[in-house]
Assembly symmetry: C2
Homo-oligomer: 212 residues x 2
DNA sequence: TGTACATCAGTGAACGCGCGTTCACTGATGTAC
DNA sequence: TGTACATCAGTGAACGCGCGTTCACTGATGTAC
């Protein structure tokens, strides 16, 4: 691949890895302007490319959205993984996974929204995470099994517990940013305390309650 | 108000109560075509009126959306109220409120989405429900106090408990419709059992767990 | 009770906008000989 | 090693669309006298 002079050179006719560049451009658009501004044209614009160019890499808009969403799930999984020490006690691990989930959504609300929207449209969020041997849902499931509250042979109950945790995390992730909670957060000395406080009331994250 | 002959008469130039009619038209559009199809023009079309007519009743699109959302919260509150017997034990009442919330969202997903979107944009969901003496949040709060797990003088903890319940309900409400859960629902003998099962893992709805 | 007139609540045409997508095209690349 | 050519990955102009909003207008209503 021939690269142009990084300072003065004209951009080459062929891009090199436009697919990658488009996904990164999409991410920038999302962070800067929010999910409503995410259009095929905006992404192409951000990548410095004509509006027709993306069609060589994605069948249509929904395929681009899906790719963004998949990338998001990848990042979320990696973040969860690095946030939960596999040698820590299971209770701590479950809590760490939950907190990581919420923090990710809080840090990247627009990407999270695209992820969620794609999941709803395609009815495949848990499925996708499920299938991947080491996907986010599996990570939670393992921690839940280790937690011992539900045993792995009570399959239905285990599944229910994981779904409950996922729902709670999703709800909290979407609502934690509400301005309405600001004064309570301040009263408690910060968002972290607030988060722990809310989680302490949600069954499967109960150990936070015992701590403080 | 002069009414046209309901069968053959021409529609009158003046509508009578276009504001009301627009809100009902919006509701129909939402149920039929989903939140993405909800535009000022679509609502006017559905109401059988020119695209400029709504501007005599709403400053702009966002004001219409807000009105739809407010109406939704009203309906939600009424539904919660009629679903929870004030003489029932507090535990049952809290559970009934939670189930009603989720059922409402499941029954009217598009309206629920508009409600949520408005809340997020305006940062006023809990606030609105809060201010109204008999709003949905207050209803939950009262039941929580009666439940006795948190006392009304531990204000912060009470608030946290209510927020946790709200988040959990929101998460469940948004995810309960996912196709991915279909097989589990079938295995458990229906959505109601599934819902109760998930709720049983969420702290403040714990009584469902003791029952079955 | 009748009439002049201000006000209200509609109409429908038009505006500019950004969108997703298509199309004929062209410059760059890589492969066969 | 050089050359012909198929293929790939871009361009940019154009399409039709639905949108939010504005505008000059007009029909109906209600009020003052």
């Amino acid at each position: 691949m021939k690269l142009p002079c990084p300072i003065t050179g004209p951009k080459p006719y062929h891009h090199g890895d436009l697919r990658r560049a488009l996904l990164e451009a999409a991410s920038r658009v999302l962070e800067r302007e929010g999910p409503n501004a995410l259009s095929l044209r905006a992404v192409a614009r951000e990548a410095g490319v004509s509006p027709a160019a993306p069609y060589h890499h994605f069948k249509d808009k929904s395929e681009l959205m899906l790719a963004i969403s998949e990338e998001g799930f990848d990042q979320l999984y990696k973040f969860m993984l690095q946030s939960s020490d596999p040698d820590a006690p299971p209770m701590e691990r479950v809590a760490a996974i939950g907190v990581a989930y919420v923090e990710f959504a809080k840090a990247h609300p627009s990407i999270y929204r695209v992820m969620y929207d794609c999941s709803r449209d395609l009815e495949s969020l848990p499925d996708k995470a499920h299938k991947a041997e080491d996907g986010a849902f599996s990570l939670l499931k393992k921690a839940m099994i280790d937690l011992g509250v539900v045993s792995s042979d009570q399959e239905v109950d285990l599944e229910l517990a994981c779904i409950a945790a996922w729902c709670a995390a999703h709800g909290l992730a979407e609502m934690v940013g509400f301005r309405q909670f600001d004064s309570l957060k301040a009263k408690m000395g910060g968002e972290k305390a607030f988060l722990a406080g809310v989680l302490s009331h949600l069954g499967m994250f109960g150990q936070a309650r015992n701590r403080g």
